[in-house]
Amino acid sequence: MEKIYLDNAATTPVKKEVLDEMMPYFSEKFGNASTLYSYGRESKKALDIARDRVAKALGADPAEIYFTSGGTESDNWAIKAAAYALREKGNHIITTSIEHHAVLHTCEYLKKQGFKITYLPVDEYGLVDVEEVKKAITDQTILISVMYANNEVGTIEPVAEIGEIAKERGILFHTDAVQAVGHIPVDVKKLNCDMLSLSAHKFYGPKGIGALYIRKGVKIHPYMHGGGQEKGRRAGTENIPAIVGLGKAIELATQNLNQSMEKLTFLRNKLINGLLNKIDHVKLNGHPEKRLPGNVNISVEYVEGESMLLSLDMKGICASSGSACTSGSLDPSHVLLAMGLPHELAHGSLRFSIGEQNTEEEIDYVIQVLPDIVARLREMSPLYEK
């Protein structure tokens, strides 16, 4: 059976062009970029090109790009290292209740170390209120971290406005743009951010590689101590093939951005409308317009998410319930709960995240298949009364 992969927000396949560029760096041009001789010089050159590409895609300077092992490390680094570096100045951090766990759990860890965390609420669409940010700021506030686009419901946050406020008040501002980069325009200047996290495997690059943008002049501690790589701010032998892959993937994604946004938005709207029309007691989660082009998130009453996922899988369709990290765990999505969804609806949520490789036929197939699955599961459900 052909698989229909609709979980592109969890991870994406590496594109052929990307893998092709990576290949020589595994076994031939494998030199350590920190060494002198010719092998190393090739690696160093590849490293520089990749850094330029990432910088260009973000409207940043190459000297502001630091490679990491992924979105999780970028988030951990930005938040912990800023907190520790500014401890003297204050102990208050503002974030939101719908962040990825890489931010939330990091903040919870800092809380145990004596920091105070404000988790901003969101409205029914998952939007943060800029006024709430203003109200939350105290003279102890050292860091604000608000994600650019939510991984579960796709809502795009007013990051530029929040960054503006942070700038006025002289507070560091970090944004987790892991779901945004490669999918919607990202410009660090327009976003007014001091730090920005991204991860290659969300836009057809390899896993295990990401970057943290750190604006020039921002002083945070290193997070990986060791060798002098990345100007002494991120130690560890550079993962050249993966860095090359990140560079190529971000270049491709940025080049095709308008086209791909248009295509995905079309498919997304088709899937949303199709499902809402064909199944009763279904609700769209997230903002109807301020939304990632590829994100569809619905709650289906009276049925549980995992059983829908399993049934879809038997039909060759890969989707997700909430986020990849919480499916398999037993807790309902913290994002949906923060948006005010009752637990039973949160348990019945499904996310389809559309990617460039998906076709209209695939979307039609999902619209055709899901109603029957829901009907079958409702048949079994003690909660459903026809």
Partner: protein, 128 residues
């Protein structure tokens, strides 16, 4: 992650439905937690002659409901009371560690339904 047997019982669950004039009925779980299992029993002369279920829950919850009802059908009450969640899970060729609690629901629902039968029929027995 699930065995073939679990997937079979999930995709083709046995004994789905309700028994309108059931002798014992019991519901465990809570929609807020994401799982509810409701079991219906028809009992004649101490023998479970029919069992049906309705379940809102994950794949393991559906599969264990299906397997548990299969395992007690046609059995004397005493034997059904010996049904453990481990036995249900084993009959399904195992469950992932994080899903063992779903099989506990099945054991609880069966015992609860038998208790309900005792109560409704004035039988002075205790289910421990």
């Amino acid at each position: 992650m699930y065995s073939e047997k679990v997937m079979d019982h999930f995709m083709n669950p046995r004994n789905v439905g309700e028994i309108p004039d059931a002798d014992g009925v019991f519901q465990v779980g809570n929609p807020v937690c994401g799982d509810i299992m409701k079991i219906y029993l028809k009992i004649k002369d101490g023998i479970i002659v029919d069992a049906k279920f309705k379940t809102f829950g994950c794949g393991a919850a559906v599969a264990t409901s299906s397997m548990a009802t299969e395992m007690i059908k046609g059995k004397p009450i005493e034997e059904a009371l010996k049904l453990t969640n481990k036995a249900v899970a084993e009959a399904l060729d195992g469950l992932p560690a994080t899903k063992m609690h779903c099989s506990v629901l099945a054991e609880e629902a069966v015992k609860g339904a038998i208790e309900d039968y005792y109560k409704k029929h004035g039988i002075n027995k205790q289910v421990e």
